[in-house]
């Protein structure tokens, strides 16, 4: 166990540096004239050019520049946007909202996904099972750029059940529809995974033993099957986080929620390189850390697995 944790941590450090390096290199590496890109179409005076070169360490070798960037990332200093706002300020403002939205989406997905998955897994081949299989396939295939505007159109504009946009200070009620849109894909995957693992575990030897002992069906399903079936579902949370982040960009944009996703969208639209890289770096770090936690949790939850 300890060896596994150490191994996983070392791997995480490697991935962390690799991934951030990749993001940095993709954004800034091999750029012909970053200062002109920074200024857009406006002309740049020589004095300004010299100052900017000094300020962004552009005269230094690429690896040294990456070092400066990493120092900033690790100390929470993400620099400034093109318009001069501190990126850490923007993040402090927008993170709580995105976390709230993501948590709502995850709770929604976990509760409904596992409940319906267990039900479908117990009654394989039934009407409910067949219907959910078809519906979840459809939901998984729906890109979020289809799902979000369509949900907005149907439940916001046509039916009027939910507010069409959440606005600057969204209420919990205003976040429900975006959270459902955001969590829909995770819900579908979770449902399918739970269903498959319940169906598989029902045939396991220990379930037969439990039945043979004369335990009530409720207990066999509720304790023996359920516990073992939910282990793989936990790993899904880590994997799904990436989808969730990508979804948040679109969902927040469509429903006008001022979270990290819509700030990233703003950065893309205004061609604000530093803002985009700052936000993406933090999202990547969050993704890596959550996946690490999920992996470690998995090792604790499933002692059968021996990690080499």
């Amino acid at each position: 166990m300890v060896r596994y944790v150490i191994r996983r941590l070392l791997q995480m450090i490697l991935t962390f540096f690799g991934a951030t390096f990749l993001v940095y290199a993709l954004m800034f590496g091999n750029q012909s004239d970053p200062i002109q890109a920074l200024a857009g179409e406006r002309p740049v005076s020589d004095a300004l050019r010299a100052t900017l070169t000094e300020h962004y360490h552009l005269g230094r070798p690429f690896l040294v520049q990456y070092g400066y960037y990493m120092r900033g990332l690790l100390t929470g200093d993400f620099g400034e946007t093109l318009s001069g706002r501190r990126i850490s300020d923007i993040m402090a403002q927008s993170w709580p909202l995105t976390i709230e939205l993501a948590l709502l989406a995850m709770v929604f997905a976990a509760v409904f996904g596992t409940a319906a998955g267990v039900y479908a897994g117990l009654r394989r081949g039934g009407v409910f099972d067949t219907t959910t299989l078809a519906v979840t396939l459809l939901v998984i295939a729906l890109p979020i750029i289809v799902l979000a505007p369509m949900a907005q159109l149907l439940f916001g504009v046509k039916l009027g059940w939910f507010p069409t946009t959440a606005g600057a200070r969204p209420t919990l009620y205003g976040l429900i529809l975006p959270a459902m849109v955001l969590g829909a894909a995770s819900l579908a995957t979770m449902l399918r995974l739970t269903r498959a693992s319940v169906a598989e575990n029902l045939r396991a030897d220990y379930v037969r033993t439990a039945r043979a002992k004369g335990l009530a069906r409720r207990r066999v399903v509720g304790i023996h099957v359920l516990r073992n079936s939910l282990i793989p579902v936990i790993t899904l949370i880590g994997v799904d986080l990436g989808t969730l982040m990508a979804g948040a960009i679109v969902t927040e944009g469509v429903f006008n929620i001022p979270g990290v996703g819509s700030k990233l969208l703003l950065g893309i639209q205004t061609e604000d390189g530093p803002l985009v890289v700052g936000l993406v770096s933090v999202l990547v770090v969050v993704f890596l850390v959550v996946n690490l936690i999920v992996d470690l949790l998995y090792a604790v939850l499933d002692p059968r697995i021996r990690y080499v």
Partner: protein, 322 residues
């Protein structure tokens, strides 16, 4: 030489396909390309299963429809998708324009039909690129193992450590910085060099499974070179799961292209992209819903078609899942 090798290749243990006990040991997916006469090959079995699967037929119909739309949009509409005038802004369905007109006054149906080309083109090219990278990396890592496997697997880990869309955003911002052309090449490159990881992992694990088989040892004893063993003996037997992953990836790539275009960092005019049209129509959804619904439905059906096709093929090749 070749005959001897063929003999070695067809002497695969015939425990594949056929009866499936849930308690059985892991079967390696040996898709016999030659389809031996005596025992039916796994591919033959899979094809028999596929023909009876309605999901496969629905998915194939969708895929054929979209590919036809991409190849010959004139069959479906004679209207010019670039013929737009604001006089017809948000006008309702009229004549051949069965979905009405959008904010710019363009024929929504014509735009939707013509949008298939960019989606399919980007998807197919990106899958070819990602598949090529994944094939080489997975094959080398799986066949040679040891330090090469360690290095390549860590690289896969690093690329997988960045969610696809986030990396695509950063990369396509770079590639679209010098705006010229329709952006098809940039999006293909972005998706190709970021989306090969799953394919590489799948290839690696099936190569590892095939590497230890007797027919590989037999080929090696007959003096076949590494390259020949990889291409003639291991590849055909490791191909099925790889193709399944790529089919599903095609759907994902099309969705990602639409998302990038939706975010305004994907395709640009004159290319017609469903993603761009969805983004524009979404802003005016209160005035007219059809310009949003039409491309959304077509995009969803296209993605669904490829994912269902991949699912059906996988089910046919892997009876354990049933």
């Amino acid at each position: 030489m070749s005959d001897l090798e063929m003999a070695a290749a067809t002497e695969v243990p015939s425990h594949v396909g056929g009866g499936f006990r849930p308690t059985g040991p892991d079967e390696s997916p040996d898709a016999g390309p030659t389809g031996g006469d005596r025992p039916r090959s796994l591919a033959g079995d899979a094809w028999r299963d596929l023909r009876r699967n309605w999901v496969f037929w629905v998915a194939s119909a969708l895929v054929v429809l979209v590919v036809t739309m991409a190849g010959a949009p004139q069959i479906f509409t004679s209207a010019d998708p670039h013929d737009c005038t604001t006089r017809r802004q948000h006008a309702g369905p009229a004549g051949a324009a069965i979905f009405g007109y959008d904010y710019q006054g363009c024929d929504v149906f014509a735009r939707t039909v013509h949008g298939a080309r960019a989606s399919v083109l980007v998807g197919v090219l990106a899958v070819l690129l990602a598949g090529a990278i994944g094939l080489v990396v997975g094959m080398l890592a799986g066949y040679y193992g040891r330090w090469l496997d360690a290095i390549l697997s860590r690289i896969v880990d690093v690329v997988l450590g960045i969610p696809l869309l986030l990396a695509a955003i950063v990369l396509s911002k770079r590639l679209t910085a010098d705006r010229q052309g329709s952006g098809v090449a940039s999006v293909v490159i972005v998706l190709g060099i970021l989306g090969w990881t799953t394919a590489a992992r799948v290839m690696r694990s099936s190569v590892i499974a095939a590497r230890g088989q007797d027919y590989v040892a037999a080929a090696r004893m007959l003096g076949a070179s590494h390259l020949r063993i990889m291409v003639r003996h291991i590849l055909p037997n490791a191909l099925a799961p790889f193709i399944v992953v790529l089919t599903i990836a095609l759907g994902t790539f099309i969705a990602t292209e639409a998302t990038l275009s939706f975010l305004d960092i994907g395709l640009r005019p004159p290319a017609i992209s469903w993603g761009t049209d969805i983004a524009t129509a979404g802003k005016h959804v209160r005035e007219a819903a059809l310009p949003l619904v039409a491309p959304s439905v077509f995009l969803a059906l296209t993605v669904l078609g490829f994912i269902m096709l991949g699912d059906a093929i996988r089910d046919a090749f892997d009876p354990k899942l049933r």
